[in-house]
């Protein structure tokens, strides 16, 4: 049952298979592409600030898929039907988290290669950036899932979720982008730790949120 649900969720959310699911990755690369146009082609400046730009682009790209992540399946009665088949909301949300991360984390990490080339990020900085995104995107996905589930029953949920994600993602951004500024991979440990804690928490928080959404 879990495997069938994961297959279905991946088909819904994976880039180029689901509807408009490639948008976050395209958006991410577009930001990296626009930045040199905006600040001028100074390689030094870009190498210094580019990593931060990539992090901000990743954070904003994480907001894009949230609208469809949970609300649509609540409206469809999809979770209700799963519930009748004895599946716990926590399990549904854990599967959704895996599918969401797989359809957003790895494509984003891959898109970092062209983005880094556009921003003249090279060598150790590039490695730290890549490691940071690998350890940070699960956390971003987890925050996104919690927020999507919490705002699913609200009318202005989509707009609100963007606003909510930004402050919650701040610790990941501070440690992730901070590692770049100090050229210090150690603080990536904090990024990974925050991500792990969020990933462990997300299925329970999101599961409780969709249960509560049924009550009104």
């Amino acid at each position: 049952m879990i495997a069938a649900l994961l297959r279905r969720d991946l088909a819904q959310f994976f880039p180029f298979t689901g509807s408009g699911a490639a948008l976050p990755v395209v958006f991410f690369v577009a930001v990296a592409m626009l930045f040199p146009f905006a600040v001028g082609p100074d390689a030094n400046l870009m190498a210094r600030t580019g990593g931060g730009v990539v992090w901000i682009a990743a954070l904003l790209a994480a907001i894009l898929p949230l609208e469809k992540l949970v609300a649509r399946d609540i409206e469809l009665g999809f979770f209700d039907q799963l519930k009748l088949r004895g599946m716990a909301e926590e399990a549904m949300m854990a599967v959704r988290l895996i599918a969401h991360w797989l359809s957003f984390g790895p494509p984003l990490v891959l898109a970092t290669f062209p983005a880094a080339a556009l921003l003249k990020i090279e060598g150790e900085t590039f490695q730290i950036l890549l490691l940071g995104l690998i350890s940070g995107t699960p956390g971003l996905a987890a925050i996104g899932l919690i927020i999507a589930a919490l705002t699913a029953s609200l009318r202005a949920g989509a707009a609100l979720s963007g606003l909510l994600l930004i402050p919650l993602a701040l610790p990941i951004l501070i440690f992730g982008a901070g590692a770049l500024a100090r050229q210090d991979p150690v603080s990536l440990g904090f990024v990974a730790a925050i991500s792990l804690a969020l990933v462990a928490l997300a299925p329970f928080a999101a599961g409780a949120a969709i249960r509560a959404a049924r009550e009104n």
């Binding site: 049952m1 069938a4 649900l5 279905r8 819904q12 689901g18 509807s19 409206e75 469809l76 009665g77 999809f78 209700d80 039907q81 519930k83 009748l84 088949r85 004895g86 049924r214 009550e215 009104n216």
Partner: protein
């Protein structure tokens, strides 16, 4: 795996929506083979009752019980709008381990629509697709919320026929609808009979 004989009951049930008490002191028991028609005007609390029976909401007072798996048919088909109908149904058939998905689709005259994305289906076609999903589940207890809405006359007759067969096989069906159903030996109650009096409200 022969389960216990199915049952569905509510005891001294009261539900509200928002601050408004919709019904109270609702008690009934349905045993294997029973069909029950719940009538009531729009907003009287039929859907609220169904959702409480399904275990989605916590009743304000009283309790609900069921033995055997529940199947729910309501206005939301639970089928992915972007997928062709055949694949959207195949997901649920696979999950429920339903054999004879083709036969079910044929019964509901859906074969010709198998390649059509769910979002292009009409209201009645979606309802028939949801019925197909429910038949594949093969659950002993059916909760049907307005199963006739949007259906043409032939399909409405088919719903009555499906309910009859289901109950003849020892299943239970609770049907909330303001339209009449042609099912012999069906009990009925009006949800308004359990509405609180002015003083209680």
């Amino acid at each position: 795996m022969q389960a216990l004989s199915p049952a569905l009951s509510a005891h001294d049930l009261a539900c509200r929506r928002g601050d408004r008490l919709l019904f109270r002191r609702l008690t009934f028991t349905l045993e294997a083979g029973a069909a029950c028609h719940v009538t009531g005007a729009n907003g009287a609390g039929k859907t609220t009752l169904i959702r409480a029976l399904a275990g989605f909401t916590t009743p304000y007072a009283g309790e609900v019980r069921h033995t055997g798996a529940l199947a729910l048919l309501d206005e939301r088909p639970g089928l992915d709008p972007d997928l062709p109908l055949g694949r959207a149904l195949a997901f649920w058939f696979g999950l429920d381990g339903a054999a004879g998905g083709q036969a079910i689709m044929a019964r509901l005259r859906l074969e010709a629509l198998a390649e059509v994305p769910v979002r292009y289906l009409s209201t009645g076609q979606k309802k028939r697709a949801a019925l197909a999903r429910m038949l594949g589940q093969a659950a002993p207890v059916w909760l049907l919320d307005e199963p006739l809405s949007g259906l043409d006359t032939a399909s409405q007759a088919l719903v009555s026929e499906l309910v009859q067969e289901h109950c003849a096989d020892g299943g239970i069906a609770l049907i909330a609808s303001h339209q009449p159903l042609d099912v012999p030996d069906m009990t009925a109650f009006a949800i308004e009979d359990f509405a609180p009096s002015e003083a209680e409200a």
